[in-house]
């Protein structure tokens, strides 16, 4: 029963996490900033939206990690 709940929670958290991360402005991050060269950190004064999004993503990430670790422990024991 606990396992099922955790599984459902994990799936929900994963999907939410992916959506949240995709919502972030890809600030020319990653490889694509190597590309196109001068995509300097333009209006990098992170807006309120971005700040809240960060907070929400970190929170979801925590839930996600806790789900995975607990599931791992449950299945192992």
């Amino acid at each position: 029963m606990v396992e099922l709940v955790l599984n459902v929670l994990l799936v929900l958290a994963s999907v939410l996490l992916v959506v949240l991360i995709l919502l972030h402005r890809g600030k020319g991050g990653g490889l694509s900033s190597m590309f196109g060269g001068a995509v300097s950190s333009q209006l990098s004064g992170s807006s309120v939206v971005e700040k809240n999004l960060n907070r929400l993503t970190v929170f979801t990430g925590f839930v996600w990690a806790i789900c995975i670790v607990t599931l791992g422990i449950l299945l192992k024991v």
Binding site: N7, L10, A13, G28, G29, L31, S41, C67
Partner: protein, 436 residues
């Protein structure tokens, strides 16, 4: 040297950046050690032991290397940054092919943003594909050929679905970590993460060489690694300095300009990106054939024999060719001679003996394309050569192995770039740097 480190930590904003980067790296490594839900750690461990004892060809050596050994453990960060790299290559190549993408790229900032967004969507799609493929392999027991243990004990389809979703989310998290690292840390996030993964494997791999092959081979391999490091640093720092003369200008009552400087053109303007791209592109056919599933089909046989097998001459030639191609491709994307010439003209600069404007752009292009040729060939040779030597000294070794050309190239390149970035930050405060 140590003093410079201390200085770096005494500077508050630099210290914050360094600590942030270290924290991200720690999270990344931690995630690489956490097994995915429903994966049996015991079975994986015993299978890994078996795989190390036997000298069978590692199906996933490259991805495994790029993910720091997380792939074969089926941890939540199993896929590493590979999907993101593959996605960016695909999008950048599509820019040349699809007119709409080209238009977006020319649009500047907002267009670039859109392209980045497409890359991120594509990353998630690729992550779903790849995680499905790998879990299917693990289920059918092909991930560790010859190992009898059940890696995923539960038979239900539900476990598989959860695992696929969790791995996809893990890839998204890695992507985000990389972006955060680029934004708030030191260096380029993606390459720093690759660097971390490769570096994490070195002690274990070195130990296993020392144990299985003995001290002499170990010493030879180490000497080779040092040699490659020397060669890489040598070329990485090489540059051609084109003299630029600035005209004198009067602004108000002040006199500006009149100085003569130079425009540095690096021999290897592209850095390590071509190597990363070439090796990831060579991995693509593997992904496709693996998704196809049919094991004995002629297409798959062909790919396995010629493209995937790393001791094959076709593979080596292909790898070399791709590195040369991507060097030119990447240089053409990052360095725009016309823009440079325009900038120079605007500030009253000129190259002695060459008219400003279009002739200058043509001259820069001329020099650049000639200087890149040895650069690209050098890069290719350094990446490919160890292939030959290592296959002489020991069977089954390949360039994806941490001491091989590709890995060392990536590590040294990323290390140099990151240190340079730290140094420019440090130079804002005082002049004592890492590199003298």
């Amino acid at each position: 040297m140590l003093q410079a480190f201390a200085a770096a930590f005494r500077t508050p904003d630099l210290r914050r950046k360094l600590l942030f980067s270290l924290a991200i790296i720690a999270v990344y490594r931690l995630g690489a050690a956490v097994p995915g839900p429903g994966v049996s750690v015991e079975a994986i461990n015993s299978c890994l032991e078996q795989a190390q004892a036997g000298s069978q060809r590692d199906v996933y050596s490259l991805v495994n290397l790029f993910s720091g050994g997380a792939l074969l453990r089926l941890s939540i960060f199993a896929l590493g940054i590979m999907p993101y790299i593959t996605a960016s290559i695909i999008v950048q190549l599509l820019v040349v092919v699809i007119p709409r993408f080209e238009q977006l790229k020319k649009e500047g900032q907002s267009g670039q943003q859109k392209l980045t967004q497409y890359t991120r969507y594509l990353t998630i799609a690729l992550a779903v594909l790849q995680s499905t493929g790998i879990i299917a392999l693990a289920r059918s027991g092909q991930l560790f050929p010859g190992c009898q243990q059940e890696i995923i004990p539960s038979e239900s389809i539900w476990t598989t679905v959860v695992l696929v979703i969790a791995l996809t989310a893990g890839t998204a998290v890695i992507m985000w970590l990389g972006e955060l690292l680029t934004e708030k840390g030191i260096g380029n996030g993606m390459s720093v993460l690759i660097f971390t993964s490769i570096a994490a494997r070195i002690p274990a791999e070195g130990g296993s060489i020392l144990q299985t092959r003995g001290g002499v081979v170990f010493a030879v391999v180490c000497a080779f690694a040092l040699l490659i490091i020397g060669a890489v640093v040598y070329v990485e720092q090489a540059q051609r300095r084109i003299p630029v003369q600035y005209a004198k200008r009067m602004v108000g009552r002040r006199m500006y300009g009149g100085t003569s400087t130079y425009l540095p053109l690096k021999v290897n303007q592209a850095g390590v990106i071509p190597v990363i791209f070439a090796s990831s592109l060579l991995y693509l056919p593997q992904l496709i054939t693996q998704l196809q599933g049919d094991e004995t089909g002629p297409v798959r046989q062909f790919f396995e024999n010629y493209v995937i097998d790393q001791s094959n001459a076709v593979h080596v030639a292909l790898y070399f060719g791709l590195i040369v191609f991507f060097t030119y491709f990447y240089v053409s994307i990052t360095f725009n001679p016309e823009e440079r010439a325009d900038d120079m003209k605007r500030y009253g600069g000129f190259i002695p003996g060459i008219r400003p404007g279009r002739p200058t752009a043509e001259y820069l292009q001329y020099v650049l394309s000639r200087i890149t040729l040895p650069g690209s060939i050098y890069l290719g040779i350094v990446a490919v050569l160890p292939n030959f030597f290592l296959s002489i000294t020991q069977q089954g070794a390949n360039q994806n192995f941490p001491f091989g050309g590709t890995a060392v190239l990536i590590m040294v390149g990323v290390g140099l770039e990151t240190v340079k970035q730290i140094e420019t930050q440090l130079n804002q405060r005082n002049y004592e740097g890492f590199l003298k």
